[in-house]
Amino acid sequence: MAVTSAPDAPAQAATRQIFMSQALHEALDEEMARDPNVFVMGEEVGIWGGAYNVTAGLLEKWGEARIIDTPISEAAIGGAAVGAAVTGCRPVAEFMYSDFMGIAMDQIVNQAAKNRYMFGGAAKLPITYRAPFGAGTGNAAQHTQSLEAWFAHVPGLKVVTCSSPHDAKGLLKSSIREDNVVVFFEHKAIYSMRGPVPEDEYTIPLGLADVKREGSDVSVVTYARQVHYALEAAEQLAGEGIDVEVVDVRTLYPLDVDTILASVNKTNHAVVVYEAARFGGFGAEIASQIQEHGFDDLDAPVLRVAGSHSPIPFSEPLEKGAIPDPERIAAAIRESLQGSR
């Protein structure tokens, strides 16, 4: 894990190595302690402890009133969060897999995202929708999607991802404290990744990208699990004398365009990496902004490395081949630099 520059993480505080799932758990637990209006609802968040163990133990600690197991009713989960939020609660609603958010799209998009606006600002919706996303677990097409582009395109939502336990905790805490609707995506292949997390409390503001590795030759702009693949590619290329900068955008909306542009201004080359299907994915927004605002900085087109134009296949070799990996990222970086070096 490269250095993170979270502005308010204490510089010398004691840290431990914990799993990302544990970091998320701590964020929930601490925010529940901090604010009695925070509660958690979702399928299997209580007795089971969450499909990825994030909420394990919270039911025992906080009781049924605040750790609410729901029936399989994604639309009602999405909508109940709206009603609870408008009337003063601060719900954290979990979708077991982001793939199931299709069922709740109306509530998330037509209700949660728009209520404040439609009511002329007379309502506040401090909701956090948590959802695991991404491939790599052999769960096939209906449990592996990366749908962040849908939500980033919806005015009224903020969209957050995380690539490390440290970021996960700090960003989730900020998301819960937000007075806006946040869709918080957790990549399921990195729940069991360990990383340093301070003992002391900290938060990470939304809307700030983080340079996970500094470099001078090319900017790789990415988020969530692909940050790790990008870092691997960077290590690989370091041996070839290519110095790669890796920018983790973290928050998709609001997007920290300044940090991205500053990086491209330095490197003059950009590769955008995301796991979702390439066509129409969130990386297209990043690429568009880079070329629009950094046109004169670019020595080569912004390239994209992304998922295949297919649902995620089940069979292991196919699943692996359907999403970016360090080799494909490295190849795109080489392509980007071709001619300019």
């Binding site: 509660f39 909508g79 109940a80 007379a122 309502a123 007075d179």
Partner: protein
């Protein structure tokens, strides 16, 4: 209750005229003929209780205590409207008075109401939420998920299905395999179908359900049987209903019926009613003038209120 029904009726009649004079645009759904439903139910609520409403929401809004001038201004799309002109007829909310909003999505208010009631349970604030929805919401997934969840979580909510016989041109008996008000057993809660044009009955039955909810005894499902005297929207001129049917229901008009009953029972005199009518008329005139005189929003408002 007469005042409330009269306010609803006259508000809409006035809006219709304004719309036809091109002072408004978009969708306008009239509640005319259904006034007893919102009025009876909301009369049984305490101040501070919550409601969720529908695309046909003027009645709920007025019955819950909204100001006519701010409503009318919203229909006119002016800054002084409840939503500063951003919502229009289909999205009027008055969160301060407990109206969590009209809703352009059929059925979508049901889970929202359950969430509001869940909040009340959590905060132990003693409030009840009433969820209004139309008969054509009966087939929606949102209705089902919401009502089931409300029952499972045992939250203080009352589901009020306003059966005005149609969803657009579709008859309620076509769209619903069984009447909504008969479905209580499927959700482990009491349910009943009542005369939605009798404001006294609506009040009495709603009161029982609301008290039940407030006492922590769980949700109730009520179907108020009524009739949409006008078309689906102001633009509906389709011939899917026969005149006879419409005439039959106009004869059961809830306001006229109230008058008859009240006069017969000598609870009110003609003069009393006239006084209320006059008062309502004044409020309506004032609302219209207020709306007409209000400024239009400016372009800088477009991207405001999206986030806190």
């Amino acid at each position: 209750m007469y005042r409330t029904m009269r306010r609803i009726r006259r508000f809409e009649e006035t809006a219709e005229v304004a719309y036809r004079a091109a002072k408004m645009r978009g969708a306008l759904h009239f509640y005319i003929g259904e006034e007893a439903s919102a009025t009876g139910v909301c009369a049984a609520l305490n101040e501070g209780d919550f409601i969720t409403s529908t695309h046909r929401g003027h009645g709920h809004c007025i019955a819950k205590g909204a100001r006519l001038d701010k409503m009318m201004a919203e229909l006119y799309g002016r800054t002084t409207g409840y939503c500063g002109g951003k919502g229009g007829s289909m999205h009027i909310a008055d969160v301060a008075s407990g109206n969590l909003g009209a809703n352009g999505i059929v059925g979508a208010g049901v889970p929202i109401a359950v969430g509001a009631a869940l909040g009340s349970k959590l905060r132990n604030d003693g409030k009840v939420t009433v969820c209004f929805f139309g008969d054509a919401a009966g087939p929606t997934g949102a209705f089902h998920e919401g009502v089931n969840m409300g029952s499972v979580l045992n939250v203080p909510v009352v589901f009020v299905c306003e059966n005005n016989q149609y969803g657009m041109a579709t008859h309620t008996e076509y769209a619903n395999a069984a009447p909504v008000g008969d479905r209580g057993p499927a959700y482990g809660m009491p349910s009943e179908r009542i005369d939605g044009n009798d404001v006294f009955e609506v009040y009495a039955r709603a009161k029982v359900a609301i008290d039940r909810a407030r006492n922590g005894e769980g949700p109730t499902l009520i179907e108020t049987i009524t009739y949409r005297q006008k078309g689906h929207t102001i633009h509906d001129s389709k011939g899917y209903r026969d005149e006879e049917e419409i005439a039959k229901w106009i004869a059961r008009d809830p306001i006229e019926r109230f008058k008859r009953v009240a006069l017969e029972a000598k609870a009110l005199t003609d003069e009393d009613l006239q006084a209320i009518d006059d008062e309502v008329e004044e409020a309506i005139t004032q609302a219209e003038e207020f709306a007409e005189a209000s400024p239009w929003p400016t372009l800088d408002a477009i991207e405001q209120d999206v986030y806190v």
